[in-house]
Symmetry: D2
Subunit: 457 residues, 4 copies
């Protein structure tokens, strides 16, 4: 039996067609035999729609690849070569709650930053650790390619608590920068050289040209001249030029939450009060996508998927898998064990850096020490991540409170506690590790106040 077996947890996701497209494009270097799309009972309908669509895509290709749909994770994992994870515990409704409950109290609700991101971690980490345990039994040589958010914390949990090193965490944010910036200098994509340092959704990069000269400041200057081309799902609020000049690095789009806290919050609250939060918008896009997917004549990725946000995610995943499989040494920005690449963080934690991907995984490029400000930011964010992960694993209330307090986007105090308490109640079904805390809060009469969120419990 030759060829590669792929297992995709959360296979019913609307992203799956993009993943298929990426695999089809790379078939010659990544000869896939079979793809198993796994989902849970609640996602069965979507799994079937997207699964049939996926099979049509392969059937329209020159390659003979079989798509298997299953609710039995063990079957999918058995002897898999690569496992990709793109599941969302509690589906988009959980994200709606993550976004609306903080917003009700005037705080940022967001999928990976602030209060929302922490609760996404609380829900996701126990599940991913369960997947890792299954992999130890069923496919101990497989690679786990995670793009479930918060991708950095999930990868850190896999390495630190799951004791599993064959994992790559992925994100599309760096891809965007690498694709857009060369154009700003009148160059093509492979004419600039990139180094990254940080953690997921919180990294900086430096750029050199093919003469080996640092062109970071040139790009920064261009970014302030014209459309900066950064990912679409970050609202268009510019950085301060003097700040970027001081750091001599380019922050990722998500840094706006930290460098323009006020405006990003205002924007989020404005959406909350008008068109609905991001999750509510995405729900509509997703519904439309699934309508399209149902079309028995559709056998290629529809253009509308691009608007979903998260473009290039799946492309990064497919390239990662191909590069590991064929030892291609492709340069990709990934979440992986630090090993010193970012010397301002411990060598054993997970960072997001430029790496050459090969058969032994990510060979991270050592970045060197960060300037004072970025060093401080990174250290406090890693502390927040470690506390969040520890709380997710132990279910300890005090640790969760410490994580909330240290999070730079959560102003500490009683309102923050209220938000945390309501999120516990709202996500009760997916937080078994916090059972004791949630029962106490229920006894104390804590209730969700945002009506939309409350209806989704």
């Amino acid at each position: 039996m030759t060829g590669v077996k792929i297992a995709t947890i959360g296979g019913g996701s609307s992203y799956t067609p993009e993943l298929m497209e990426g695999f089809i494009k790379r078939y010659e270097e990544l000869p896939i035999r079979e793809i198993w799309l796994v989902d849970i009972e609640a996602g069965k309908e979507k799994l079937e729609i997207v699964g049939e669509m996926a099979q049509r895509m392969w059937d329209a290709s020159p390659y003979d690849v079989k798509i298997h749909l299953t609710l039995d994770r063990e079957k999918a994992l058995k002897d898999a070569d690569f496992v990709t994870t793109q599941f969302r515990v509690g589906l988009l409704n959980a994200r709606v709650k993550d976004e609306r409950i903080p917003a009700y109290y005037g705080m940022l609700g967001q999928e990976t930053n602030g209060a929302g991101g922490m609760f996404k971690a609380f829900r996701t980490i126990p599940i991913i650790l369960g997947i890792v345990e299954d992999m130890k039994r069923l496919c101990p040589n497989a690679w786990l390619i995670n793009f479930t958010n918060p991708a950095g914390m999930v990868t850190e949990a896999i390495v630190r608590y799951g004791k599993w090193d064959r994992v790559i965490g992925l994100c599309n944010v760096p891809v965007g920068a690498i694709m857009v910036e060369p154009g700003l200098l009148g160059k093509k994509e492979n004419e600039l050289i990139y180094k990254f340092a940080g953690v997921n959704h919180f990294h900086w990069h430096k750029v050199a040209d093919l003469e080996g000269n640092d062109v970071t400041l040139d790009i920064i200057d261009q970014l302030f001249k014209e459309d900066n081309g950064l990912p679409k799902n970050i609202h268009d609020i510019p950085f301060y030029k003097e700040q970027l000049h001081q750091m001599k690095m380019i922050p990722c789009g998500y840094h706006r939450y930290y460098y323009r806290q006020e405006e990003m919050l205002d924007h989020a609250l404005e959406e909350y009060k008008t068109i609905g939060t991001r999750a509510e918008q995405v729900k509509k896009t997703e519904a439309e996508l699934f309508e399209l997917y149902k079309d028995p004549n559709l056998d290629h990725k529809p253009e509308q998927l691009e608007q979903r946000g998260g473009a290039h995610y799946s492309d990064a995943a497919c390239e990662t898998i191909a590069s590991i499989y064929a030892n291609k040494n492709t340069q990709i920005v990934v979440s992986t064990k630090n090993n010193g690449a970012v010397p301002d963080l411990p060598a054993d934690c997970v960072v997001e850096v430029m790496a050459y991907l090969g058969a032994d995984g990510a060979r991270s490029v050592a970045f060197g020490e960060l300037p004072t400000a970025e060093k401080g930011w990174l250290q406090v964010m890693k502390a927040m991540e470690l506390l969040t992960i520890e709380a997710a694993v132990t279910g300890d209330y005090g640790t969760a409170l410490q994580a909330f307090t240290i999070n730079p986007l959560v102003p500490s105090g009683d309102t923050a506690r209220k938000v945390m308490h309501e999120l516990f109640i709202a996500h009760k079904a997916h937080l078994p590790q916090f059972k004791e805390t949630i029962e106490r809060l229920e006894k104390e009469g804590v209730e969700v106040h945002d009506e939309v969120a409350k209806d989704l419990i």
Copy 2:
């Protein structure tokens, strides 16, 4: 010529009588010959009032010590054995501006935390570095005992940029904890053993009893039972018990600004809108104090000085000086070069730790690694300090903006920039290093909006 020469920069301060009381109390171990109180032209009247009061205090004592009043810093420093600094650049009016300008925009205005503390550093650091240069010429063997705020940053600037190691930074906050907590366990002051780690106004402590058992959690539990007795100039907002139980350490009072951000801000804004900010209140207390000091019959520290806040400050200073002079090995919490005492920060930066004070200065007690949350907090605060100091020294706008952005009490964005810009305008007279920036802002028409602050420019 025998006996110790003391020079006190900012000698016209209302604290001076407390300093005198401390010296008189310790005369037997610290045989002072003469005390030079220095001030600037603008403080001449206060200097004379408090100087005469100081001389009366000594005259009422059994000791023959001469108080010299001068506006000539060089004369005071010449051959001094100890130099104490308690000056306030721009006097209390500068503090009013530090507090009111942020508050006008709904942000925390405070003397050492948030935007205010950074501008106090901007004003103070160039002056202290000038004093250090004078000391290198005039009294190269003297010790500099600093209690000008922000005491940690000022001490760091002296060590890092002034290249002067004979300095001790002092603060009364730890003194308060050490005096109050034993009573909570039914013990006397010397029956508990303290270790501290952190930076000024941002440290934690652990406590052991005379059996060597850690009693930190016992004290925490007591703190939540009754009046916690922490310093009076922190508004009475309790910590969260679960948080303290998680960290197994006791934070200092100023941690409320970070652990109860919302309530501390509300309180500050309430005062701003009603009775006036802290500086405005202190101005009144000070005026009353100086009225008292004018009384030619008053020859001892008046009780009202206690209410001024900052009690025990001068006592700590006197004990520090006596312990250095007589190699007493008294345990005092001081700001000093880390040397590894707090291993989570670089060995060459300044930290606030428990130390034994002796002829060679502070022998810091190694604290060991901090837990995750406190480590992250401390690292980001030290980054903020280093950036603030760098901006104070270089006058670089981008660095100042980075310091503002990373400060956990300043929500980044245009309002923060506005606050920063108005503070630049308001403190123009004391920020020569930012001349270029201030001229640019003036050209752009930046004006102070808070009327009270505006009137004080």
Copy 3:
């Protein structure tokens, strides 16, 4: 039942009378109730001699303290307040083997340095870890005061593998320096201030006077003028003055093994070939001491004990115990958990530093970073220690070989292996953890070649 209970493991040691003298001297601050001297069957006779002598010493004092002699360690440990360890696994004969077997091959044989020290660690660490386990059950609040060599490695093993923090490792070497050096500058003992950094038998110190000036170079210059007064059991070979001037610190006497490797080896081999190794000399002194102790009229420490070497050891132990008991804050150089005091080593390893001793143990004075050479030396020595301890705990042959290879006093190669193998055979009775290795070596026909050592097996 009031008063302190002391348990002394290895109570039959010739040092015990010094220990008694130290306790008697400090009775007012350390009110001892009973002292238990424990030894093993093989040491019973010596235990009885020295035990009776000890009781006579107390009987001659004004204090009513009872000496208990026992071979039952558990009885001695039960409810003890302080446990002191001064045992020697395999007695002095084991030391003879440690010294002679390497010397036979022209290598340094020494009690704590080189091959000998490593085998002393292999024999001692399993025993001390057994004592710690007993203490967890029988006296969980007791302090363990260790002066069994190699004291640093033994203390590290207790903390790292025994997970026991209430331990102080002691050595008399620093005591000697602190007593002798002031005289070199015409000063009294308490007129100089000491800071130490390093590990046991491998540390450096810096000295300040009561004006706070560094006088280290002055002492160095004096050391090269006259009798340096360092401990008697280091042969009189001077350091190189230029080297000490470069480091601006004073090395301990044992550094001669590393800084004058050639001459120290020559001296050891000379003794080996003539008067016998140090252990053989000490055996004679000991025999004489025990003859003295038998005298039923002797009720005080005899002068001859001073010549035994190791003077002040017991005094340091008694002062340590008194300082912990009475929270005296005495400054003593001890082996204790680093906690950052020596920032060039990990915060969780054991170092030897100046500390203030109190009810919570050692409050180490942060030393700051070492210069390049000393940093490198210290890091390689700590690696050697950690490997030796790991080999002692695991019995792994490869780890022992790595420890031997990295030891700067063992020239790697086949002769070193031969020495290691013969030491395994020679100490077979006390190395159960290396059973497998020793059986293999026996099969391979490895035999001890030094006749004196061979006769002692």
Copy 4:
């Protein structure tokens, strides 16, 4: 004017033909315009012989490249794109002295290890820093490719004291391992994946196969079965298998000097007493090579050059240059700034690691923390390097003595001092920075005792 300009300092070296061969092979990706071979007056004859040979090689190729011969370094450097350094201060005779003077006293004399390597650094570093200063003026965008030994220390000096970052240090030792080991497992060269960590001539590597499995232990086992194929200029003395199994890494050949100190020394002394030291042997090979080079019909690299030792050196250099020029991302083991790749050493020092070479230089692969033994070894070796470099720059005697003392291959003591002193005298002409020391030693009557070395002064 298009095409690349290469300047080769020490162009008269016998290696130059190999360099030419490497450039000819890569001409299509590295279009060279002109090559400047620079040498000093004393090397003029060899420069002419090898220069004509080099021109014949190009003339026999399809490419039109002009070889310029010059004694004027500035002309060669002017606008160069790449500068390669392969000079030998004092020529091979200096190496003879480095080897024979220690050997006379029974110590290891070797080109890069022990006493010899330190004096090679003392001679080379001032020259290379002069070259760097010239480059700042004459070709500020050029890359410096150094393969003058000790390559690691020379590179460190360039970065640390020369403040020049566009430098790559090269060595052929890793190339050998990468070429030979795959065959041991029945694989081809590109079928194994390598990671390296350490410093020049003192590094370890780990190997993975194309399934991502660590095969290091498999290679180790093979190494002990058959001819290990490591570089020819290391005498054939095997490592200890148990030691390699414990470290789970493969040391470089030069580790034999440290892991089999005794046998390597014996071998060196044996050669010293019989066939002459390595330099004396190489002198013969070189003379023969130059005879060959004189042949006006020879227009390709002669086979005999392989036996010279140092094979693949030039190939590594050419590939490095081509990979930088064409941003090829070739994996090469280089000496470069750490940046965290080896987290056990400071981020700002130079290490030898696997890197992807491109237009911005070396993108080092983060290796992660080393095991205890290797960490300790590496830290002490880096300390030795830093001290040697500091002594080379400052000419300080005490620092040189510290470097000698900490060097694991130099047994400290009077013999080591004698060796050092004689080396100072022997290399007087090339150690202007030690003028004062050398004059003092001359006054003291220090003379070289080895007759061969003495005759070469």
